[in-house]
């Protein structure tokens, strides 16, 4: 999994320790701890995992195993405007892949990556429950329906 480094400050370490302590440093609570940490940092860089490993006495290899198993967890920070393209069946058959390719081309990013300026990140997801609008794209909380590859440039313009 691609990863972005973080320089931990003392208060970051304190925050992680606080989260772990709120779950009694119980190794069984690893997933909950990771949820809270991702909520706080926006992502779970290696450095954060190492502090969690120390606090919960869980090998960091295992933590990395959990993070790479669940697609919710990420080791790269989301962009200011996270872009998600629905690849559910309905969206897929109506051309979501071509839309995704266009986003990849325009942004120069692969799925799971974040632009260097931290503005956009690209991800795919499965079904947002708006199949009537297929193909669906979400940017942050905003939903775009019946997106064609030609619309991609205009969508991105809204966030410049």
């Amino acid at each position: 999994m691609s990863s972005i480094k973080i320089e931990l400050r003392q208060e970051d370490v304190a925050k992680i320790s606080e989260i772990c302590a709120s779950f009694n440093n119980d190794p069984q609570e690893l997933i909950n701890v990771l949820h809270k940490c991702q909520e706080h940092f926006g992502y779970l860089p290696a450095e954060v995992q190492e502090v969690v490993s120390n606090q919960l006495a869980v090998p960091v290899a295992r933590i990395y195993g959990v993070i790479t198993f669940y697609s919710f967890f990420t080791m790269t920070p989301k962009g200011k405007h996270p872009i998600s393209i629905c690849m559910g069946t309905a969206c897929y058959v109506r051309g979501a892949e071509k839309v995704l390719d266009e986003f990849k081309k325009e942004l120069g990013l692969q799925v799971g990556q974040t632009s260097g300026d931290g503005k956009f990140s690209l991800s795919s997801l499965r079904c947002v429950g708006a199949c009537g609008l297929a193909p669906v794209v979400m940017v942050g909380d905003k939903t775009y329906g019946r997106v064609a590859p030609d619309d991609v440039k205009n969508i991105l313009k809204e966030y410049e």
Binding site: M1, S3, E7, L8, R9, Q10, V13, A46, E47, Q49, E50, V51, N54, V58, P59, V60, A61, R62, I63, Y64, G65, T68, F69
Partner: protein
């Protein structure tokens, strides 16, 4: 215990509650094939993720086939192990596994010793449907000083993960990623070298395929042997002689000491020496250190750290440097026998035969993979010339012997060369759990009490229990001894030392279950702990027949001190035979 009655393939069987279908079938002589499942019964080690589904059976009244390795027997159960449905499912599972497995068996280091290959053969797989269109998952190869990971060959049985986490509590390996991308890897998929791996090699010892193997140093040894300017010296660890024969079709527990010596001579080594000699030397140094700490402790010197921990196992040294760096002054500072041997060979012996250390190549034959890393440690070299140049495993030696057209079985027994080949029974038992401390007790008792030991077999220190303890009467002083084998067991004793609860004066630790006889470089046991027991028995038998069984009575050790080292723990002995440890725990970096 409650008994459960069931039938398997129409045969009735009664087993205790909690027995799995697979084991119940074994009672009846029905050998349901298993792949991911593995057990070392006498060592309390079991891998049962029910991941591969090779062992499925049909159970009357159940819709789905059940994995027999984890399905518990129930009263009245009717099990069928070879219906058409079962056989088809088993074949399909195998075809799926093979569809994502390289077909380079001809040149795979595990060929002939691979459980996957054996299973494909047993199930009679002759083609893999969809092979032409199926993609193969690929993963980069990772080479560390001891272990090679070739994860294209990983079948996700997760035995290595179980050994690393449950048995050894090292936690270097974990299953990561999903589906096609799933592999067993260190954190962040770094190379093993940058992980917490101790190189104990237990992952290699249980890997059913060629995914985990040792770094092969036999080509380097061959090159050294072919170089006329080099004097090539070999040392053999005690556990090797109790296992090497297995690779030549002999019964587990067959001692091949003499044949091994002859084979090494035929291979062209200039001197065939014995690590057991260095084991005797270790006892002199470690035993003296124990008595020194003990005497200081008894006089009320609080700086004398007790318990003393043995330090001959390199996997164990790596473990405490990683996990207990705060206790790094607790283990004995004595080097391992391998390194003591190298240090003496390249000084004392090189001087004796009048050559410089640069013209001498020291090769060790070890049951161990961590030894490969150990001999590469910087502190064990002088002017960039390592004390031990190459360490090869029992398995590598067997391959080497076969390549040289030597029929081990038909060789005459040979004798080790003097002076570094002469050893006592105390040196031999280093190869099994409890052996180092038994050897130390034999010497320390006589040195401490000034009396002759009446009984040399300390059976209370023997056995395969993971953590053992015994109290030996040192002429009125009760000496409390702890023994742990397997790093998870060692961790328990270390936690007590750290918290100040430990009542032991001395603790022996071996990283591998069973000690060196169960080492990561030994012939593969394929989950049969009887093999490890047989090797232990062989080691004790060798001890028993030695004319001298106490390290301090080894005449060549006495001579070495007289001619060269002075006294145990002398300045010269310290310089050559002792070491220091490092804090290897990864620190959390905080930005100021």
């Amino acid at each position: 215990m409650e008994t459960i009655k069931l039938t398997i393939d129409n045969k009735p069987v009664a087993v205790p509650r909690g027995t799995t279908v697979n084991k119940a079938a074994r009672e009846l002589g029905i050998d349901i094939p298993v792949l991911c499942w593995m057990e070392l019964h006498d060592l309390n080690i079991e891998n049962n993720p029910a991941g591969c589904r090779i062992c499925v059976v049909e159970i009357e009244g159940r819709r789905n086939l059940a994995p027999s390795c984890v399905t518990k027997c129930e009263e009245g159960m009717v099990v069928k192990t070879h219906t058409t449905r079962v056989l088809n499912a088993r074949r399909t599972v195998m075809e799926f596994i093979l569809s994502d497995h390289p077909k380079d068996c001809l040149i795979c280091p595990k060929s002939g010793n691979c459980e996957l290959q054996t299973m494909a053969h047993r199930l009679g797989i002759r083609e893999i449907p969809g092979q032409e269109i199926a993609a193969m998952s690929t993963y980069r190869k990772d080479t560390s000083p001891s272990i090679i990971r070739d994860l294209d060959k990983c079948i996700m049985c997760r035995r290595c993960e179980m050994m690393c986490n449950v048995v050894q509590t090292v936690g270097a390996l974990s299953a990561v990623n999903r589906g096609f991308m799933a592999v067993v890897a260190p954190a962040f998929e770094q190379n093993l070298e940058h992980s917490t791996c101790t190189y104990c090699g237990q992952c290699v010892a249980v890997c059913p395929t060629g995914a985990l193997t040792e770094v092969d140093h036999t080509p380097d040894v061959l090159r050294a042997l072919a170089d006329p300017s080099k004097t090539v010296i070999v040392q053999t660890a005690p556990a090797v002689r109790a296992a090497l024969g297995e690779m030549f079709g002999m019964e587990p527990g067959t001692l091949v000491t003499g044949k091994m010596v002859t084979a090494l001579r035929v291979l062209g080594f200039d001197y065939v020496f014995d690590t057991d000699f260095a084991a005797d030397l270790t006892i002199m140094e470690e035993g003296t250190e124990l008595l020194d700490r003990l005497n200081r402790h008894l006089k009320g010197d609080t700086s004398a750290r007790l318990p003393i921990l043995t330090s001959c196992c390199p996997g164990w040294v790596n473990f405490f440097e990683e996990y207990f760096p705060d206790l790094k002054d607790v283990p004995s500072s004595a080097k391992s026998p391998q390194q003591m041997f190298g240090a003496i060979a390249k000084t004392y012996f090189a001087e004796k035969i009048g050559i410089s250390r640069k013209d001498m190549v020291v090769v060790s034959i070890m049951p161990c993979l961590a030894k490969k890393y150990e001999c590469q440690r910087e502190e064990f070299s002088t002017d960039n010339n390592p004390d031990v140049d190459y360490s090869i495993s029992t398995r590598e030696l067997a391959t080497f012997i076969k390549q040289a057209n030597i029929e081990l079985n038909n060789l005459e027994d040979g004798e080790f060369d003097a002076p570094l080949g002469e050893s006592t029974g105390a040196g031999v038992i280093f190869g099994t759990t409890g052996g180092v401390i038994e050897a130390a007790v034999r010497t320390a008792y006589e040195l401490y009490t000034g009396k002759k030991l009446e009984r040399l077999d300390f059976t209370e220190l023997r056995g395969l229990e993971g953590v053992r303890s015994a109290t030996i009467d040192f002429n009125g002083l009760p000496l409390n001894i702890g023994i742990a084998h397997g790093l998870g067991n060692a961790r328990k004793l270390l936690d007590d030392v750290r918290s100040g609860k430990s009542q032991f004066h001395a603790i022996e630790v071996m990283a591998c279950p069973g000690g060196c006889i169960g080492g990561g470089g030994q012939p593969l046991h394929h989950g049969n702990s009887e093999i490890i027991k047989a090797r232990a028995a062989a080691i004790y038998a060798e001890d028993k027949k030695k004319p001298i069984r106490k390290s301090h009575e080894n005449p060549f050790i006495i001579k070495l001190y007289e001619e060269f080292l002075g006294k145990p723990n002398s300045e010269k002995a310290h310089h050559l035979l002792h070491t220091h440890y490092f804090d290897k725990k990864k620190k959390i970096v905080v930005k100021q």
